[in-house]
């Protein structure tokens, strides 16, 4: 975000919290909407008992493994399909058919096959997050300005050297756009898949599920805030990596 507007964002958040707290204090909103003070104390509770780290750790472990697999396969397949047009054309029908399917619809099938396990969760993450990464990479490779490729050929580079030293760096900004979308989807699918249940009783999504069963909206809000923070932090980490690798494209 633009630094000049950071102040506005902070003030806005503070005002929302104050208004929310005020409405709750005056009993103008129902108690199931909780209030910032109670949510804050729940967060603090999660923090001091260590439950926060246990649940967040398990969730992160699952989603980052999923994201890691997506990043490697999505980028690799995307580059191959984009650069070697025949291979791309071969896989195109498969991609076209599977891509529009809402992958969450496959969750019951995966649960039959693999049970309520991490395999099911990582698979559903992979199936959802793979496509944006693959498609962005492939289109990024297609979109590389052909004068770059011609210039490389002109200087005697082989087909593979062009791929490694021209096409890949030129497509990298688009690849990062895809990775960013995939990272967001990874987190969404993580918590969705945790809300169907958890065999070891851990995970932020499962925490929401159990808070719901107990009718504890304050705990649900606390979990949601942790989830939001995790999403934000990892998006920032990805942007920092991007800034490091694409220093030449900044501004």
């Amino acid at each position: 975000m633009d630094k000049r507007f950071r102040k506005i964002a902070i003030i806005e958040l503070i005002v929302i919290i104050i208004v929310w707290q005020g409405l709750a204090y005056a009993q103008l909103i129902p108690s199931y909407l909780a209030n910032p003070a109670i949510i804050g104390s729940q967060l603090w509770g999660l923090l001091v008992t260590g439950d926060l780290f246990m649940n967040a750790g398990v969730s992160l472990y699952r989603s980052l493994i999923g994201f890691f697999i997506v990043a490697i396969t999505g980028v690799a397949f995307g580059i191959v399909a984009g650069y070697y047009r025949k291979i791309g054309a071969f896989f195109e029908p498969l991609i076209t058919i599977v891509n529009p399917v809402p992958k969450i619809a496959l969750l019951p099938i995966l649960m039959v096959w693999f049970g309520i396990s991490d395999v099911t969760r990582i698979l559903i993450i992979f199936l959802t997050a793979f496509f944006p990464c693959f498609i962005a990479t492939r289109d990024g490779v297609h979109g590389v300005n052909h004068v770059f490729i011609w210039a490389g050929e002109n200087m005697g580079a082989s087909r593979f050297q062009i791929l490694r030293k021209v096409v890949f760096p030129a497509a990298l900004p688009k690849i990062f756009d895809g990775l960013r979308v995939s990272l967001g989807l990874t987190f969404i699918m993580m918590f969705s898949s945790e809300m169907i249940g958890s065999s070891n009783g851990l995970g932020l999504g499962f925490l929401i599920l159990s808070a719901d069963v107990a009718g504890r909206t304050d705990l649900m809000f606390a979990s949601i805030i942790v989830i939001a923070l995790l999403g934000f932090v990892f998006d920032r980490i990805l942007l920092a990596v991007r800034g490091r690798l694409l220093w030449w494209a900044e501004r």
């Binding site: 300005n145 011609w150 002109n154 030293k165 760096p169 990298l172």
Partner: protein, 290 residues
């Protein structure tokens, strides 16, 4: 349409005619009955038809033609970037049909890699060709100094102006020491002032490097100012209409624009190009039938 201006000199001097005759000496670039046909569903469009051209070593040759006449396509075929339909292209006697470092290509838009610094860009071709690092650095310094941009070696291309980018492109091309230079309207995107300065710069660098140049432009002034020989293409399909020798002593300065001889050359070429304008696009059937 005005009457064609009579030129003060013969169109091709005897000496040049001899130089351009195949077989006398191996030409830098030799193009033999080159044709390009684009097939589009059931109709075929002839872009280039039976072009023969022989460019002697060390000459600066421009190709001018109406826009969209296929002169860029012609240059891209010589560069090996797009396939030809018929004919041969030889560089110093060796037939070529794909891109290679024997022909240094400069494009209208900057083809500098935006993720590499200026000096990394100039060194790129040398690195690909396995030139040792020590030697690379020497060559990069040499050519960046030749184009007067050595101080900008650690900049990114995005930090440079259009004219500077094209000078770096020229340095990059010269660095891998091609036999000939191919230039596709390299100053086409520059403003008029920068463009004239670049022409003077190019003339100086060309003289120093002693390369043969095939230069494509739609700007008649630019062609006359820079060239030993101007090749006039007709539009669709591109065929050579006339080859004109430009007889000005070198080095030329921008003041020659004001001379009567310069104006005569320009008007002569202008008339040749404008006779072309009203002509409709030819389809292959028309070409074959008549």
């Amino acid at each position: 349409m005005g009457q064609a201006v009579c030129l003060p000199v013969s169109i091709l001097s005897k000496k040049l005619k001899e130089e351009m005759t195949v077989g006398k000496q191996i030409p830098a670039i030799e193009i033999d009955s080159l044709s390009k046909v684009y097939s589009d569903r059931n109709e075929e469009v002839v872009a280039i038809k039976e072009v023969n051209l022989s460019i002697p070593e060390g000459k600066f040759v421009s190709v001018v033609g109406p826009s969209g006449c296929g002169k860029s396509t012609f240059l891209h075929i010589v560069g090996g970037f797009i396939p030809k339909t018929k004919g041969t292209v030889r560089i110093r006697g060796k037939e070529v049909d794909k891109p290679g470092p024997d022909r240094g290509m400069m494009f209208q838009e900057s083809a500098l890699f935006p993720w590499k610094t200026v000096s990394e860009n100039v060194a790129w071709g040398l690195e690909i060709q396995g030139v040792p690092k020590q030697e690379r650095q020497g060559i990069v310094e040499n050519y960046l100094k030749l184009v007067h941009l050595w101080e900008f070696r650690n900049h990114l291309p995005s930090q440079l102006s259009g004219g500077m980018k094209q000078r770096i492109s020229l340095a990059r091309v010269l660095a891998f020491n091609p036999d000939v230079l191919l230039m596709d309207e390299p100053f086409g995107a520059l403003d008029a002032q920068t463009r004239e300065n670049m022409q003077v710069e190019l003339q100086r660098i060309w003289k120093e490097s002693q390369k043969s140049v095939l230069f494509v432009t739609h700007d008649i002034d630019e062609a006359v100012f820079l060239s030993d020989i101007v090749v006039v293409f007709t539009g669709r399909p591109a065929v050579i209409k006339e080859i004109i020798e430009i007889d000005f002593p070198r080095p030329r300065n921008l003041d020659i624009h004001k001379t009567k001889e310069f104006t005569d050359y320009r008007n002569y070429i202008w008339d040749l190009l404008h006779q072309e304008h009203a002509k409709p696009h030819l389809k292959v059937s028309e070409v074959v039938n008549g």
